[in-house]
Symmetry: C2
Subunit: 350 residues, 2 copies
């Protein structure tokens, strides 16, 4: 991919979305100079899609994404569309399905430098990744009904759906501390029992990886009491939604964490884990780090340019250390000041 | 109920179960003297049920529970029955259904004295209650299938099931800070949309109660970042399982928290929130406080004897303050030493 011009679909979305996307793209430009060639295609998505085309994932947005090498998303949703018949979040669920983004990958780390932001008292350095199944389970299972007397949702998994995401987790563990913890509720759910069966088979193909399991309630406790014990957490869609946000919170720095959603081939999607923060939109104080780190994650995973990603990460660390941070991290810098400081660092590191 | 002899079914269960039950019953005896008359009926349950009768909830155990005024349960399960066709936990699910215990109530508090046990850095005093629906949802919904290619679980709720547990939450809020937060995933689940509809109706009957909602992923974060903002959390079965264990963990003192499961009439069940701790069974060091606090909760809620419950609570607080605590709370006292210290305090307070 390095010899071609990379195609990136850019979805700025709503509220602080455009503000942080601007920051992310400025950093991408700075780090790319003469090093990486790309073109971007900006498209409306989420509330912006509803406003322009009446739907959160307009056709043109989807076809741009499908033809891209990677999708960068900022953040969507907010009070403006709370009563819309078609909610912005629907677009998120749709694009996951359309691009077959079955694995959502969320790094959770607390480095020595970031410990002061953690709400947890005594943390050893924490560094784990959650691999969440993203295109099946109770999010998409049928029947799904609601009437005057009752409602039903269906958690459904096939062997193939479990196997492909399990392989992602074990492959990832091979490049890390070789430890996979599968989180389920096998003492209650039939689907969890299928997960246990299939994941045990996948684990057998990775004898170097230590494999264990945890019930989801116990995992919710351990993420607080002993997060340093995790390496790769593998789990189904709904549990992953809850645990990955819990895990982000223990770092105390939501505003810094990127994420990746990928399939087997086709473009992956990179986005901050936080939302569109309507309360601070337009004030110029949104933390751009999660977006900037998403750009770095894209450079590593889609474009195999961890050299450029490292330049970004080191610059981000230096800027955090220098105290140039937005109010959510206790500083008083603006989005632009943080972004410019990072770009400055990138130039100095050349 | 105060003039009759109270009937209490006692289920000691497995591993540390009998050790902590002994402690709980000793405290009940001490506080009751001339004040409260009861008889206990001990029955096998969980692994003990499997060992004696081949099933986790033997008929006789169930019929004793049904005829009782209250059920005290210690803890069940453990490695001994991991490969049993009938798991101890099945007994728990069965007794909840048989006694129609649709509301599980879990106090979560961090008092000034307990703050040092919390893994959270800066806590304002925390005091909230989780009301978890306990007899429906994905735990019991049909179809529930598993075969060679796929598996299915069904999350199903009726209007009546939601309404009755919602009323419990609002009634409870009326005696507290008059604030109910309903936790759901209404941006994804049909059942959550039914919950929103029904709970809004119930809320209308309680105009003095401030009512708001939170998505489950956001709630998992807020339990860590701002737990002091909650008063009563109302939620469905699966979410309640995860959030109530997470909430317990932030207190740092799992070993102290009691719980109550109740229906509309019939006996309620009181139990510690922790498990049977096979690793420390038989060593005499299990923390009896959660069991002892469950006895106090029973005296308050089933027998309307908060006078006696207060004697227990004050004694427990005094003993914690004095440092006579088990290893899980950083002390080196035995189960018996803690229990005797509490009984001593009860006598001194007479
Ligand atoms: C917005 C919502 C549908 C979404 C989800 O639950 O997947 C979000 O919480 C996330 O985790 O990306
Ligand atoms: C043992 C298990 C079935 C049970 C549950 O999930 O309800 C337990 O975790 C609990 O919370 O009481």
């Amino acid at each position: 991919m390095t010899n071609q011009v990379a195609k990136i679909t850019v979805l700025s979305g709503d509220y602080i979305g455009p503000e942080i996307m601007k920051a992310g793209l400025a950093v991408l430009k700075a780090v790319s100079q003469d090093q990486f060639h790309y073109q971007i295609d900006e498209q409306p998505f989420g509330g912006a899609g509803i406003d322009q085309f009446g739907v959160p994932l307009p056709d043109e947005t989807l076809s741009s994404a499908k033809q891209s090498d990677a999708v960068l998303l900022a953040a969507i949703g907010g009070p403006k569309w709370d009563d819309a018949p078609n909610r912005p979040e629907k677009g998120l669920l749709q694009i996951r399905q359309e691009l077959n983004l079955f694995a959502n990958i969320r790094p959770t780390s607390i480095s020595a430098a970031m410990q002061r932001y953690s709400p947890i008292k005594q943390v050893e350095p924490v560094n784990f990744v959650i691999v969440r199944e993203l295109t099946s389970g109770i999010y998409f299972g049928k029947p799904r009904e609601i009437d005057d007397t009752h409602a039903i949702d269906t958690m459904r998994y096939t062997v193939d759906e479990i196997r492909r995401v399990a392989r992602v987790a074990f492959e990832m563990a091979m490049k890390r501390k070789r430890h996979v913890t599968m989180v389920d509720k096998a003492n209650v759910l039939a689907t969890s029992n299928l997960w246990r069966r299939v994941v045990a088979e996948v684990a057998a193909d990775f004898p170097e990886v230590h494999y264990d399991t945890s019930y989801v309630d116990a995992a919710a406790m351990k993420i607080i009491s002993a997060p340093e014990q995790f390496d790769v957490i593998l789990t189904e869609n709904m549990f992953g939604d809850i645990l990955s946000d819990e895990a982000a919170e223990i770092t105390g720095s939501l505003g810094t964490i990127p994420s990746m959603s990928r399939g087997s081939d086709g473009p992956a999607l990179y986005e901050p884990i936080h939302g569109s923060a309507p309360d601070i939109a337009g004030k110029g104080i949104a933390n751009p780090l999660s977006m900037i780190n998403s750009v770095a994650m894209m450079l590593t995973h889609t474009f195999d340019r961890s050299d450029l990603a490292d330049q970004i990460s080191q610059s981000v660390d230096a800027v955090i250390d220098s105290g140039t941070v937005t109010p959510d991290l206790g500083g008083n810098a603006t989005t632009n000041q943080v972004t410019n400081a990072i770009i400055q660092q990138i130039y100095e590191r050349r």
